[in-house]
């Protein structure tokens, strides 16, 4: 099997695909955003709830997608709980730049998200990895209910 495939489908990715964290609906969410990848028709809905200080208190997602999009969203929800708006947006920029190759992956700043770095060798899959992240950005910066990654 090619090394690059093993690099893409790392154990962390496979684990989060098999058993996505924070998967489900959030009844008392402040923001619900639907993300669509028009290329493949995959849909994902992101639920975000803020606490009284404006920090992300809870976040969940539902939907169907490929292993990359599910694992990326799952890893994202795990990471952003407790972050402020600005911190979460900063993380969005970091992940975005790593996925698009504008920045080398920094293992310290990325921590578990470093598992997404294998996507960089698969340009056609970058949209999959960023679907959940774009939904997050939309949830934090606009009042739109729908986004598409194209």
């Amino acid at each position: 099997m090619s090394d690059s495939l093993l690099d893409l489908y790392r154990e962390v990715i496979l684990d989060h695909n098999r058993d996505p964290r924070n998967f489900g609906e959030l009844d008392d969410a402040d923001r619900v955003v639907e993300g669509v990848n028009p290329l493949c028709g995959d849909r994902m809905t992101l639920y975000v709830k803020k606490d009284k200080d404006g920090k992300i208190e809870d976040v969940c997602f539902t939907g169907s997608g490929c292993a990359i999009s599910v694992a990326s969203a799952s890893l994202m929800t795990e990471r952003i709980k407790g972050l402020t708006n600005d911190e979460a947006l900063e993380l969005f920029e970091l992940v975005h730049d790593v996925l698009t190759g504008e920045q080398e992956p920094d293992p310290v700043r990325l921590d578990k998200l470093a598992a997404l770095a294998g996507v960089r060798q698969y340009p056609s899959r970058i949209k999959c990895a960023s679907l959940g992240w774009h939904a997050l950005k939309t949830a934090l910066t606009t009042t739109d209910a729908k986004i598409s990654t194209e």
Partner: protein
């Protein structure tokens, strides 16, 4: 590598030899031989087509129908020669009935826009649940403009059209019936002869989207008795950007033009413009001349093949692939109609089609993954996406074996 049998023993169709006509099939992908199984999206071109286009570009090009000079005449002859070949290829009764378009999509849009002008709020258009988006959206637009209603014939669980429902949906209000000959998403071959008959009895005009049919079987529009037949060059071993609308001359005569511009007029003045004769009335602007030349060359190429053997070879590939696939745990074929072209749409356990596509790609295997521009079909079978292997006559059983090796890897990664 040992030489696997190219086809069913004794089929007499030398796919291995024909394959050599297609230079791109010798490509290596990630150090592996290319296994091209995305023919339903776009097929590859033989050297005969590539050379015909290059010869045209090097020696014959000028604008058509306009100049008195030598090259303009050469280009016009090449372009119109291609039209004659298309006419013979689909057995149309006259060359006026062959309109060059950019492809199937433009051909359907032409009919929807032009014939669509006669529609009113009481009228209905009938399509099927199998259609490619390009045989759905132009009709939706025509309905929006005219207030007409779009009706959709449902599918049975095997991916064939529910003919009883189709018949029930045909009423005296039905003006146009637009159906695919072969489904790109599932491979289902529709009983278009019967469907055209039923539509005509109801007094409706008929359009067949033949994009997937032309590479697999001989088309005879006169025998089909349809009013319009649309197809694309790039799915039948010709270049992109060229396609055909066959239309019955009496209808085309009555229909208003689609686009305005050069070529399609006889005289222009600010008070009264008169339109050119068929087929030029529907060919506004400088056409894709080299594309038409390439299409003519692909027809010459196909005319040299024995279609009975070609079909037998493709059927063998499909049956072999389906049998191999079903050996894999969790494999499911979507689209199991009795009559199917060499298109295999499938899912493999919970593994998403995109992951399958990426993994087999690293083995050099090109398949299509996603909704195949047929989102309603995906919805009907409750899958977000499928993987699709589609075979051309130049594929071999060993291409199937490579696909299966790739899918086995996917199973290893995901379990």
């Amino acid at each position: 590598m040992s030489q696997a049998p190219a086809a069913a023993p004794g089929s007499g169709f030398d796919a291995r030899q024909l394959r050599r006509d297609f230079p791109i099939l010798a490509t290596e992908v990630y150090g592996k031989p290319l296994t091209y199984l995305d023919n339903a999206a776009s097929s590859q071109r033989p050297a005969q087509v590539i050379d015909a286009v290059a010869h045209y570009e090097r020696h014959l090009h000028a604008n058509v129908h306009r100049g008195v000079h030598y090259l303009s005449q050469q280009a016009t002859d090449a372009y119109e020669g291609a039209r004659d070949r298309v006419q013979a290829f689909v057995n149309a009764s006259s060359r006026q009935e062959i309109i060059f378009t950019r492809g199937t999509t433009e051909a359907i849009n032409l009919v929807a826009a032009s014939l669509g002008q006669a529609l009113g709020p009481d009228d209905e258009i009938l399509i099927t649940w199998l259609e490619h988006h390009s045989n759905i959206v132009p009709w939706q637009l025509a309905c929006q403009r005219s207030g007409a209603t779009l009706k959709v014939a449902p599918l049975l669980d095997d991916g064939s059209v529910d003919l009883l429902a189709f018949e029930r949906l045909l009423t005296e209000r039905t003006r146009i019936v637009a159906i695919s000959h072969i489904s790109n998403a599932l491979g289902t071959i529709n009983p278009v002869e019967t469907m055209v008959d039923l539509a005509q009895q109801a007094g409706a005009k008929t359009l067949i989207d033949g994009a997937q049919a032309v590479p697999h079987q001989r088309i005879d529009v006169s025998a089909l008795n349809c009013d319009f037949y649309a197809f694309s060059g790039h799915k039948m071993y010709a270049p992109t950007g060229i396609g055909v609308l066959y239309g019955r001359a009496e209808l085309l005569e009555e229909m208003p033009p689609y686009q305005g511009g050069g070529e399609m007029i006889r005289t222009v003045s600010f008070t009264d413009t008169t339109f050119n004769a068929l087929p030029y009335k529907f060919e506004a602007g400088t056409p894709n001349i080299s594309g038409a030349v390439g299409l003519g060359a692909s027809i010459d190429y196909l005319n040299n093949l024995d279609y009975a053997l070609l079909e037998a070879h493709e059927t063998d590939l499909l049956e072999y692939a389906q049998a191999q696939l079903l050996e894999l745990p969790g494999a499911k074929i979507i689209g199991t109609a009795q009559r199917k072209a060499s298109v295999m749409s499938f899912t493999l356990g919970d593994i998403h089609a995109h992951d399958l596509g990426t993994i087999v790609d690293r083995e050099g295997v090109a398949i299509r993954t996603g909704h195949h521009c047929a989102m309603p079909v995906m919805e009907r079978f409750a899958v977000p996406a499928t993987a699709r292997a589609s075979f051309a006559f130049y594929n071999l059983r060993e291409d199937v074996d490579r696909l299966m090796a790739g899918l086995t890897q996917a199973l290893e990664i995901f379990t």
